[in-house]
């Protein structure tokens, strides 16, 4: 089994190598091959989760001198591999419908993620992680003719390097290379705490946790749509996998409960911040990327809660929180892939990513619109879709937070509960704004008015994640039954009761605390809808009539404005106004100013509105200033005499030797 998987993994670099001689004609081979390999990966992962995981470690014929490199698949890696396979297949099929670009980087991106997930030692994991970072950077920089994309790629590279550095240090502190050896002697004392900080910095940067999220909205918007779909849906999840692997598995079965608090706090901040920013952004892909920050925060909160409950030895609740995190990771990976692909289809059809240039696409692209509604409902946590099932689990875990025996932890869980609810409502508002601006109303530009339905490949690519979103939403219990090994792994040493959270096709929280049976909810909704329709047909048989829009008597637009007067439709900034005033002022430095002409002047009055992410002011600007200062200092080294250069080299050597002696002695 593992050998077959390893051979399948080798297929990705092979495809990348094939892309070179084939050139631009290789699109069908590379993307089709990637889709096939991804489906095989998903099958292998799903099959292993259902019928038994492969045992042991497959040694690789390379690796560092002080330890062996290897591949292995346990419940956690198989769960994330399943997501990678499903989302990767959809994105690859979508790419078939577009121009063949980034043919070398695409299979390598998939290869890096799969390698990181299957690694059985830190060397292989970091190798895969860095391959993923570099290949995705190449995809972000694909449209490098535009200045904004170059800037996004540069910023992304800096943050990826920061993530890589922190993770190398975190894995270095664990002492051994093979995961089995690390588990045998988990880190203790300051070493363990340093691993916590470094893992949060490294994996948190790559996952886009606040305040290290500045790169994410820029990079995800700059990449081609299928690449941004995978970056948002899966790459952030690989980072969360590394976080879970480091903190909940490798750092030992027992940590102090407070380890969960930083995760809970960072997750809650990301959730609210990301969802709020998604309400203010005016570019479809940037908006979706901000919503990714929100959902990554929710998954992180689930992991943090699992750590808190583990520390308090509440096994059933730790399993509940871990199940929430895992299910939400899968659900978000699928519906965000779907939504990014929808944004890509809209971009191809209507030629714009700006909400203010779209509108009325539901008439030109009815199928895309229906599939988009599925993704939108899941992102807004509406029953009976997948996002609701996973957020229900997370809310139930938070509602059980009062069972923690410390007042501080209880209050943290209560505050987190309120913030998750707020994030869910904000996400619903953001998704409504996205769909309402892009698909509803009237077209806002000539290009948008001439849009056509998405192509065959694009619709096929949307169908898979949309179907899975609906399926997971209807039978979340069946999906979670697959995650059972991963849940046990994340719940750690705490005793997990034999009867899990998955009950048949439904979900159950705690011991009789609550249950959710989405299938019956869907059935009831269908019954109520059909019943109402039947009664209405009986009592009100008249056909609907079409007439000009009422709009409170607002006059029809003049003939020369064939799209209607655009200003009579809500704009992206206008729809954002309530939240910009209510929450944006404090959190995102939102501002509104009216520029009135002086009396006698003929120019129109203008309303300027906008916001600024505080991470730019408080993190990026000081960091850039620090960089310049360091560069200026380093510049002085050039003028050193030969004596100065030699003594510096000697001093460095002595310093390193002293460090080595101290480490060996300690």
């Amino acid at each position: 089994m593992l050998t077959a998987l390893a051979l399948g993994l080798l297929g990705f670099p092979l495809l990348a190598a094939l892309a070179l001689p084939l050139g631009r004609r290789g699109g069908l081979v590379v993307h089709g091959g990637s889709a096939g390999l991804c489906l095989l990966l998903a099958l292998a992962a799903g099959g292993s989760l259902g019928f038994g995981l492969p045992e042991g470690v497959l040694g690789l014929p390379f690796g560092p001198a002080w330890g062996g490199a290897g591949l292995a698949m346990d419940g956690l890696s198989a769960w994330f591999l399943l997501l990678l396979g499903l989302a990767g297949a959809s994105a690859s099929v979508f790419a078939l419908g577009g121009p063949p670009r980034g043919l070398v980087a695409w299979p390598l991106f998939l290869f890096g993620m799969a390698l990181a997930l299957l690694a059985a030692d830190s060397f292989t994991l970091l190798l895969g992680f860095e391959a993923m970072s570099v290949a995705s950077w190449a995809l972000v920089a694909l449209d490098h003719r535009e200045e904004s994309n170059r800037a996004a790629a540069r910023l992304y590279l800096v943050f990826a390097a920061l993530a890589g550095l922190c993770l190398v240090a975190a894995f270095g502190l664990l002492g051994a290379v093979e995961f089995a050896a690390i588990r045998a002697v988990p880190p203790e004392g300051w070493r363990a705490n340093a691993v916590l900080v470094l893992a949060l910095l490294g994996a948190g940067t790559k996952a886009g946790l606040v305040p290290l999220h500045a790169w994410l909205p820029l990079a995800h918007a700059a990449a081609p749509s299928h690449a941004s779909a995978l970056m948002s849906g899966v790459m952030t999840k690989v980072a969360l996998y590394v976080l879970a692997r480091l903190l909940l598995d490798l750092a030992g079965p027992v940590q102090p409960g407070w380890w969960g608090l930083p995760l809970l706090a960072l997750g809650a901040a990301s959730a609210v911040f990301g969802a709020l920013r998604a309400n203010l952004e005016e570019d479809t892909k940037t908006l979706l990327a901000c919503s990714t920050i929100e959902h990554v925060g929710l998954v992180t909160m689930g992991l943090g809660l699992a750590l808190l409950f583990r520390g308090a030895d509440l096994g059933a609740l730790a399993a509940l929180a871990a199940g929430a995190a895992l299910l939400h990771a899968l659900a978000h990976g699928l519906f965000k892939t779907l939504l990014f692909l929808v944004a890509g289809a809209v971009l191809h059809a209507a030629g714009s990513r700006r909400l203010d240039r779209l509108g009325g696409l539901i008439h030109a692209m009815p199928r895309t619109a229906v599939l988009a509604l599925v993704g939108l409902g899941a992102a807004a946590a509406l029953p009976p879709l997948s996002g609701f099932a996973s957020e229900w689990l997370l809310l139930q875990a938070l509602l059980a937070g009062w069972r923690l025996d410390e007042f501080g932890a209880q209050m943290a869980a209560a505050a987190a509960l309120a913030l998750v609810a707020m994030a869910a409502a904000l996400a619903a508002a953001a998704m409504l704004r996205f769909f309402g601006m892009a698909f509803l109303g009237r077209p806002r530009s000539p290009r948008g008015a001439g849009a056509r339905e998405a192509g065959r490949f694009e619709l096929l690519a949307l169908l898979l994640p949309a179907g899975l979103t609906l399926l997971i939403g209807l039978v979340p219990g069946a999906a979670l039954a697959l995650a059972e090994p991963a849940i046990r792994l994340l719940a750690g040493a705490a005793q997990v009761p034999a009867q899990g959270i998955a009950q048949g096709v439904g979900l159950a929280a705690g011991e009789g605390q609550a249950g959710l049976l989405p299938l019956s909810v869907a059935l009831l909704l269908g019954l109520a809808g059909v019943g109402a329709w039947a009664v209405i047909r009986w009592r009100s048989p008249g056909a609907t009539r079409r007439g000009p829009v009422w709009n409170c008597g607002f006059i029809d637009p003049p003939e020369h404005l064939i799209f209607g007067d655009p200003l009579s439709q809500p704009s992206a900034a206008g729809l954002a106004q309530p939240l910009r005033r209510m929450l944006g002022g404090a959190l995102l430095a939102g501002r509104e100013a009216v520029a009135m002409p002086s009396p006698g002047e003929t120019r129109p009055a203008r309303l300027e509105a906008g916001f600024a992410d505080p991470s730019g002011r408080f993190l990026l600007t000081p960091a850039a200033r620090l960089r310049d200062a360091v560069a200026a200092q380093v510049e002085r080294l050039r003028d050193l005499s030969i004596r100065g250069c030699l003594s510096m080299a000697f001093g460095t050597l002595v310093g390193l030797l002293a460090l080595l002696a101290w480490l060996e002695g300690g």
């Binding site: 508002a429 309402g436 209405i536």
Partner: protein
């Protein structure tokens, strides 16, 4: 036999609530009119309006999509399922095991989303404005509601509405400060979710101040009837929810017979009448607030609910 009884209770409950919902709206309007010194229309008027709207042919805008036609049914279905989960005169209904408070919030969010989508469908300024405001208010109402649910979950050990109601009825919890605070928070959320004064004025004719009504400006005929009916159901749902949690006395316990149901029905009618009177009195006494003051109103509810939970943490910590 028990199953048969629960099915019967469920069906009776559904019929009762579906029949009573427009009456609740009518009663509140009548009471308000009396308090303001007017004669007021009969409480049956909303029913007459609904039947009249059903007879009229709906007019759709030329560029209305399928959303305008489907959303009324989706919004109505979500509200109807939600209202079927909230016990009225008896507990132990067929759907009681499904009746989770978090699911209830999800169903209401689904109905809200359907309404907002319909409001944005034609691309009119007022529809979009109403949708944006409605969704923004929910960002403050939902956390407050879930913190109330947290208080119930701590006291009852479950988020199942039927079980919460049964525990509060049988558990002899007595008067609790936390429960009182949660009740105030819950009432504030109910006022906001139903678009009543001071958050929104259901009787307004001025488009600029509309929230809920602004999304319905383009709806007509049977579509408008469905939206109005769904709004009536939602008000009934919130009043019944408040009654089930904070005033659980009188309701027939699970597995009881027709006599207990009759008593429960009387008790429910009294409770709902009392709540309608409270609502009408409150609405007559306060003025509508500015839209951007609403976050303060709901923020206060949020803090009260958090305080309720914190008091419980402290008291369980001391005990």
């Amino acid at each position: 036999m028990l199953i048969l009884g629960s099915i019967l209770v469920q069906l009776l409950h559904l019929a009762l609530v579906l029949a009573a919902a427009p009456l609740v709206i009518g009663l509140v309007r009548w009471l308000k009119a009396r308090m303001m010194g007017r004669r007021g229309a009969s409480p049956l008027q909303p029913w007459r309006d609904l039947l009249k709207l059903l007879r009229k042919r709906p007019v759709l805008a030329e560029n209305a999509s399928v959303i305008s036609e489907v959303a009324p049914f989706a919004g109505f279905a979500a509200t109807a399922v939600a209202v079927a989960l909230v016990p009225s005169f008896a507990r132990g209904m067929l759907l009681a095991p499904v009746g989770d408070l978090v699911l209830l919030a999800g169903l209401l969010a689904l109905a809200r989303m359907a309404l907002a989508l319909a409001g944005m469908d034609v691309g009119t300024a007022f529809g979009g404005m109403g949708a944006a405001r409605e969704m923004s208010f929910s960002a403050f109402a939902e956390p407050a509601l879930l913190l109330c649910v947290l208080t119930f979950a701590i006291l009852a050990g479950t988020t199942n509405l039927d079980a919460v109601s049964a525990t509060f009825h049988d558990g002899a919890l007595g008067l609790r400060v936390s429960l009182g605070l949660a009740a105030v928070a819950m009432l504030a959320v109910a006022v906001a979710e139903n678009g009543r004064i001071p958050v929104d004025n259901p009787a307004t004719h001025l488009e600029l101040t509309m929230v809920h009504e602004a999304m319905l400006l383009e709806a007509s005929g049977r579509h408008l009837a469905l939206w109005d009916y769904a709004a009536a159901l939602r008000l009934t749902l919130w009043l019944a929810l408040v009654a089930a949690v904070f005033l659980p006395f009188g309701a027939a316990p699970a597995g009881s017979g027709p006599l207990a149901w009759l008593v429960g029905l009387l008790a429910w009618a009294v409770k709902m009448g009392g709540l309608c009177l409270m609502l009408a009195g409150f609405e007559s006494a306060v003025a509508k607030m500015r839209v951007f003051r609403v976050p303060e109103f709901l923020g206060a509810a949020l803090l009260l609910a958090l305080l309720a939970a914190a008091l419980l943490f402290v008291s369980t910590g001391l005990a």
